[in-house]
């Protein structure tokens, strides 16, 4: 299926916006989109989200016979899949121009820069070496596939662990992960590709172009660099003439971006390592349930919290303290059910009503006073309540308090909440009047 064509109106608008230093998603010229690195449950599986672009890399290993000219070096193999899932323009199972270009660039970025120690992958010289295979799958295409692919590939390589191998004489044993801990690959440095797109014959430059920007660009420059500011590969495509200063400027920007990305990458690796050590949910198990398709999805949701503290306080003050439980001296025989154990006694309802009527009289007086005299009112209430406490000495709850020696601090709280309730009740009555 063909891709959606780009209309003239979009093209004109994009070029005009770039002239005004504006981008479609509100980024600045040198900004990357939001990047997210997640790992799968297995070692060597990594997802990279770059805005809406999504890439997955999976590393696997295999014992093979080495190449004849390099008998003691392991083999690195890179493969990029452009599936129709990423974009309707990609076709299944056919090497398109883009996929060849991306594959070649990834090889140059990771293999030719010698970032992985291939000699450590040798098991028996000339007979058995490890072949490390990196499969990069594009899951969604929204521009800048190369950067996402290079980050995913190098992160997956860092995350990968190969089985341990033991050699006794002529016998080679490959240990399962249960027998011996798998070994990480030895990686010297992490090359990361940064893409620059040029517009209007190189007048304007953008970092991390999105899909629509890629369609209107004149040329592309990809610089692969590690955090030590060593350029691992550089490639310009699209047929534009670049000045020496432009390339120098791009490499400077690239060095900044690479150091930022490397930091993010190592942080992600560290987090994953920690999560795995603790044995908690990591990788897929942790990241997948959030991506529900049945719910309206938003990246972040703002919550109205202006009056939360007040409301919380309100609730704390108004709710009744939980009834204190008294262990009955009768120890039930195990297996025998009992009714009414440890529950609040509801037999004393009558006197509650009495209290309320009493309180009502009090509050009627209080009502006449002005709000400015709140303080005094409080005192009065306190006084009246103290009176109450004396009166209702036969209530169940008060009994409880007497029985418990270690809860002297609970009593005031309890009574206070009570007074509030009464207040509320009183106010209700007022409304009735």
């Amino acid at each position: 299926m063909k891709d959606t064509p780009l209309s003239n109106c979009e093209r004109d608008f994009l070029l005009k916006a770039i002239e005004e230093k504006k981008r479609l998603d509100g980024r600045q010229t040198y900004d990357y989109r939001k990047m997210k690195i997640t790992f799968g449950t297995d070692y060597g599986c990594c997802f990279v989200d770059l805005g809406k672009t999504r890439v997955m890399a999976q590393v696997s290993c295999e014992l093979v016979t080495p190449k004849e000219n390099r008998p003691n070096e392991g083999i690195m193999f890179f493969n990029i899949e452009l599936s129709p899932m990423a974009s309707p323009a990609f076709e299944q199972g056919r090497q398109s121009e883009l996929s060849v270009k991306l594959n070649r660039q990834l090889e140059r970025c990771l293999r030719n820069s010698k970032c992985i120690d291939t000699e450590s992958l040798c098991v028996v010289s000339g007979e058995k070496v490890w072949q490390i295979r990196v499969d990069v799958h594009m899951l969604n295409h929204d521009g800048n596939l190369m950067d996402a692919a290079s980050i995913a590939a190098i992160t997956a390589l860092c995350h990968f662990r190969r089985p341990d191998v033991g050699i006794q004489g002529d016998e080679v044993t490959v240990y399962s992960p249960e027998e011996r801990d798998p070994i990480p690959l030895s990686i010297y440095h992490m090359p990361i590709s940064v893409s620059f797109s040029f517009f209007q014959q190189g007048t304007y430059l953008l970092v991390d172009p999105c899909e629509r920007e890629e369609r209107v660009m004149d040329g592309l420059l990809m610089i692969a660099m590690n955090k030590h500011r060593e350029i691992c590969s550089i490639q310009s495509s699209g047929g534009i003439m670049l000045l020496k200063e432009q390339v120098m400027r791009c490499s400077k920007i690239a060095s900044v971006k690479v150091s930022e990305i490397t930091e993010l990458l190592s942080k992600a690796l560290e987090n994953d390592k920690k999560a795995r050590k603790e044995g908690g949910r990591c990788g897929f198990a942790e990241s997948m349930p959030q991506e529900r398709i049945t719910a309206l999805k938003m990246d972040e949701t703002s919550v109205e919290m202006t009056d939360v503290t007040e409301r919380a306080k309100d609730i704390v003050q108004k709710t009744e303290a939980p009834p204190q439980l008294v262990r009955s001296p009768v120890v039930p025989v195990p297996g025998v059910g009992q009714v009414g154990q440890g529950l609040q006694n509801t037999w004393g309802l009558e006197e509650e009503d009495e209290e309320e009527t009493e309180e009502c009289d009090n509050s009627d007086e209080e009502q006449e006073e002005k709000v400015t005299k709140m303080e005094e009112e409080e005192h009065e209430k306190e006084a009246s309540r103290e009176g109450d406490v004396v009166e209702i000495s036969d209530s169940e709850e008060e009994d409880v308090v007497i029985l418990h020696p270690e809860t002297p601090d609970k009593t005031p709280k309890n009574t206070e909440s009570r007074s509030h309730q009464k207040g509320a009740a009183a106010s209700k009555k007022r409304q009735k009047k």
Binding site: L6, N8, C9, A17, G26, T301, S302
Partner: protein
């Protein structure tokens, strides 16, 4: 069946949910006996003596007997009479091929513009946007577009002028924008003056006084797809206050 359909109006239904054609238990003897007729819109399909739901979404009802499923899909399926924004991809002889985001391209005759004759051809280039209407939308035939109404008037349709930005949103949002007294549109009107063309195929075209404002509007509309009314209002308020 009518009563069960009415009962479930507004509920979320999934493909495979079904209603049976069984009549109600009580039949009034006094009133005239009228056969129960139900008009099924998109997402509901008759299969034998059952009515099947074939799209996930919310069941909607319109008086007297019209029911349909309101879903949030993005893939457009052409329907006769709907107006869409298309991109001209090929100019061949006397028809243009137009991409409208569906499974195949539609054809648009050069005679289907207002005031065009064999000698007076409309000025349409490849890559231009056209606002047009489906004349034929049949699943077994190539869809055909026209840029005139039944009386031969343009009625707002035709080739777009310069400027503006076209972008894609979900079909649900488009329908929300096109409802009379749309809330989203009312919220948007309070922000900036702008020109907005809504195609039923999910494409929106916006033109405003500056690039910045056009970008803001396009990003706002794209983001309010998955928002509740409250969140949207809050966002629009923030934008109005100048937090761009």
């Amino acid at each position: 069946m009518l009563s069960t359909l009415k009962e479930r109006t507004g509920e979320v239904l999934l493909p495979g949910d079904e209603f049976s054609f069984e009549t109600d238990d009580s039949i009034s003897l006094t009133g005239p006996v009228r056969p129960e007729k139900v008009v099924c819109g998109p997402g509901l399909r008759r299969s034998g003596d059952r009515l099947l739901v074939c799209k996930s979404g919310v069941l909607r009802h319109k008086q007297p007997h019209m029911f349909w499923m309101d879903s949030q899909q993005r893939r457009y399926v052409p329907a006769k009479g709907e107006t869409i924004i298309g991109i001209v991809t090929v100019k061949s002889g006397d028809v243009f091929k137009v991409d409208f985001g569906g499974s195949e391209q539609a054809s648009l005759s050069y005679l289907a513009f207002e005031g065009s004759t064999k000698r007076n051809r409309p000025n349409v280039q490849v890559g231009d946007l056209v606002f047009s209407q489906f004349l034929i939308a049949n699943k077994d035939m190539e869809p055909e577009l026209v840029c005139v109404d039944s009386s031969g008037r343009a009625n707002g349709m035709g080739v777009f002028g310069g400027g503006g930005l076209v972008f894609t949103v979900s079909l649900g949002l488009v329908r929300r924008l096109l409802t009379p007294h749309s809330e989203v549109l009312a919220d948007l009107q309070q922000l900036f003056p702008c020109e907005l063309v809504v195609g039923m195929n999910g494409r929106l075209w916006v033109k405003s006084s500056s690039v910045q404002q056009t970008l803001v509007i396009s990003n706002l509309l794209q983001s309010c797809d998955a928002m509740t009314a409250q969140q949207r209002r809050q966002l629009f308020r923030r934008v109005a206050q100048g937090a761009l």
